[in-house]
Amino acid sequence: MDPVRSAGASADGRRLPLKTMAAAPSGIRGWHSIFFEPFAVLLRHRRMLFRTSLADVRARIAASALGWIWIGLYPLLFLGAYALVYLYVFQVRFPAYGGRDYVVLIFCGLVPFLWFSESLAVGTGSVVANGNLIKNTLFPIELVPAKSVLAAQATFAVGIVMVVGALAATGKLSAWVTLLPLLWFFQFLLTVGVVWATSSLCVFVRDLQQIIGVCLLLLMMVSPIAFPAEAVPENLRGWMGLNPLYYLITCYQDVLINGRQPANLLPLGIISFAAFFVGHAIFSRLKGVFADYV
């Protein structure tokens, strides 16, 4: 049901866009719509997406007593817990990383993970929670999950600045850090794709929200956040590849603390684009039947 936009001339000379909604031939749809539509929908409404995401962040801040402080405090608390457990309880030491470096290593993985997990936690229920927006003709419902992903990156933004600052202070910053925007882009595609899929399925299977919570906990444990991927025993390393966050987090670690070419950049890119397209395909298929369930 892609809106076909052409123009109809009107009496006073104003040209109004014509939008046609017709019974869609089911089955095969144009290839261009699979690859082009997901980008188009986000780009077309980028300003609205930005403003509403900002409003979301503001709303969350306005609702808490500590306000803006939370955004910085949240990753620090997580980091503190990680550092405490691994550094002092388990007494974990890696030859390649000193005590201070180890903390930064954790941060490199933790910060992108927090963005991903918060996006999923909030985004999965976002369509259900914003059912009223389904009827909004000016705000496409596709933007709702994307909005959750964008709003969730507040923590990420602050965290990344902390990491880069810490690396700069210890003189470990390398030129590879310039790849950060690309990693951000890949992670955005990956997360939006996954959230598109989960949020639309959640309309029909509400339990998904609980399931996602459990999955995130599992992902947190198997993702190489508190350990470098090299520390995983050889025979288990193959399994790591099944976790899409493995590619993401190792890329961040390479670019930031290891200061080397990210080895997993290509698989990450492929996975991200695939998730983005598949997620959108699922979402646009289910969107037609949302209205009756929300």
């Binding site: 109809g8 939008k19 017709a22 019974a23 409003a55 609702a63 927006l133 003709t137």
Partner: protein
């Protein structure tokens, strides 16, 4: 002739109803073959079918119909939430649905921040949004409170701000769905006036969906009546509303009749045994066999018109002669308040004694009861009832006869009260 703003060509929507929502998702994802394999069954339902109409630019059209008639489905197809199963919908211009107010509102935000948030959901950002702000604040009359968080607002203030923000920009095609029904009557009226002003000035095409006929009358020149998923009538507002009102009245009559029939169908003790059923009792020396309301059109009406003649006909049967019975027809408001009581003794109408079958008629030349729902008691007493004491009853049917009074022209926007006091007015200078 310019292109119409809105065109529907033989539009229909079929829903497939599954026993579980999850199955619907599988179906939508193209897993129909899987469902058939699993033996999952679905029922098909056409919520709307063969709907065709066109709305010219600048026209204001009302869409009426009862709940479940297919109004909402049609609307959702127009705004693009639902894809039609068959047919084609064409919309020229920016379409906006005003279905709820307060989109993007957050209680912790100040009024001003909420205006910006609401506007951003309408795709208005940056300088445009700031330019609109003064006008919105102005209409909401909340300038004093605009920098307070809206959680401190009263419900009325909140609604005012939300409505002002929602109607700040009028699109090419505006779809309004029932929102005006929310909030208090005063505010609803004010909103309606604003909608009319705005749309008249800007030449916006309006599609107004409501089951409130009077609101449609204020806003629209043309009206489309949707019934059972298809267009039943399409024409000037007044004439469509009239046929709609007639249909609703007819169905309402059937409903009231069914209700009374249910009440009458309840087992009743045989006369003579002095039953103390709470709603139907008496000594049984005479019994009320039937009660009918008659107006000009019908000899057994359930709905009568205010300011028109009507009569109440009560059939009374007395197996043996009784002297000076008192006949009562008493109408109550839903609140339980007695609205009118027609009391007459047999000897006042030349029947000091009755026996066998009799017909008592209360003749009303002009009904002064106002529009509303009533329930009536019908009774035959042994003596005239005095305040506070009920005399011995031959037969009382307590509050078991339902009827309705309506205005001839359909629901009016002017409240006329429970009693239609006849009056004339004079204006004197000086």
């Amino acid at each position: 002739m310019s292109d119409p703003a809105l065109e529907l060509h033989d539009v229909g929507k079929r829903f497939r109803l599954f026993s579980r929502p999850g199955l619907r998702a599988i179906d939508a994802l193209g897993g129909g073959w899987l469902l058939r394999g699993m033996g999952a069954t679905s029922r098909e339902l056409w919520a709307a079918r063969h709907i065709s109409f066109r709305v010219e630019r600048g026209e204001r059209v009302g869409l009426i119909g009862r709940n479940g008639a297919g109004k909402s489905t049609t609307l959702k197809m127009i705004i693009g939430t639902l894809t039609p199963t068959e047919g084609r919908v064409e919309v020229r211009g920016r379409i906006q649905a005003l279905m709820e107010i307060g989109t993007g509102f957050h209680p912790e935000f100040t009024g001003r921040q909420n205006i910006q948030a609401a506007l951003s959901y309408q795709g208005i950002t940056g300088r445009d949004a700031h330019a609109l702000e003064p006008e919105i604040i102005d209409f909401s009359e909340l300038a004093e409170f605009i920098d307070q968080p809206v959680k401190t607002y009263s419900a009325g203030m909140y609604a005012r701000l939300a409505f002002s923000a929602a109607t700040a920009v009028i699109p090419d095609v505006l779809v309004i769905d029932e929102i005006l029904g929310a909030g208090d009557a005063y505010f609803a009226g004010k909103c309606l006036d604003r909608m009319r002003d705005l749309t008249e000035r800007s030449g916006t095409t309006v599609l107004f969906v409501s089951h409130d006929a009077s609101a449609v009358q204020v806003l629209c020149q043309r009206c489309i009546w949707i019934e059972r998923g298809t267009v039943k009538e399409d024409g000037p507002t007044l004439s469509v509303l009239k046929s709609y009102a007639t249909q609703v009245r007819r169905d309402e009559e059937a409903r009231l009749r069914a209700r009374d029939a249910r009440a009458a169908g309840e087992p009743r003790e045989s006369p003579g045994s002095l039953p103390r059923d709470t709603s139907n009792y008496g000594s049984g020396a005479c019994t009320i066999e039937s009660v009918e309301l008659e107006d000009a059109d019908s000899s057994d009406a359930k709905i009568v018109l205010a300011d028109r003649p009507c009569r109440v006909k009560v059939r009374v049967f007395a197996p043996s002669p009784i002297s000076n019975p008192v006949f009562v027809f008493c109408a109550y408001l839903p609140s339980g308040l007695c609205a009118m009581q027609l009391v007459v003794a047999g000897e006042e109408c030349g029947a000091p004694e009755i026996s066998g079958s009799n017909r008592v008629e209360f003749v009303i030349d002009r009904l002064v009861l106002g529009a509303g729902e009533y329930v009536a008691s019908v009774a035959v007493f042994e003596r005239m009832p005095r305040l506070g004491a009920e005399p011995r009853a031959y037969h009382v049917m307590d509050r078991s006869f339902h009827f309705k009074v309506e205005d001839e022209a359909g629901p009016a926007r002017v409240e006329r009260g429970v009693c239609r006091q006849p009056f004339r007015a004079e204006v004197h200078a000086g």
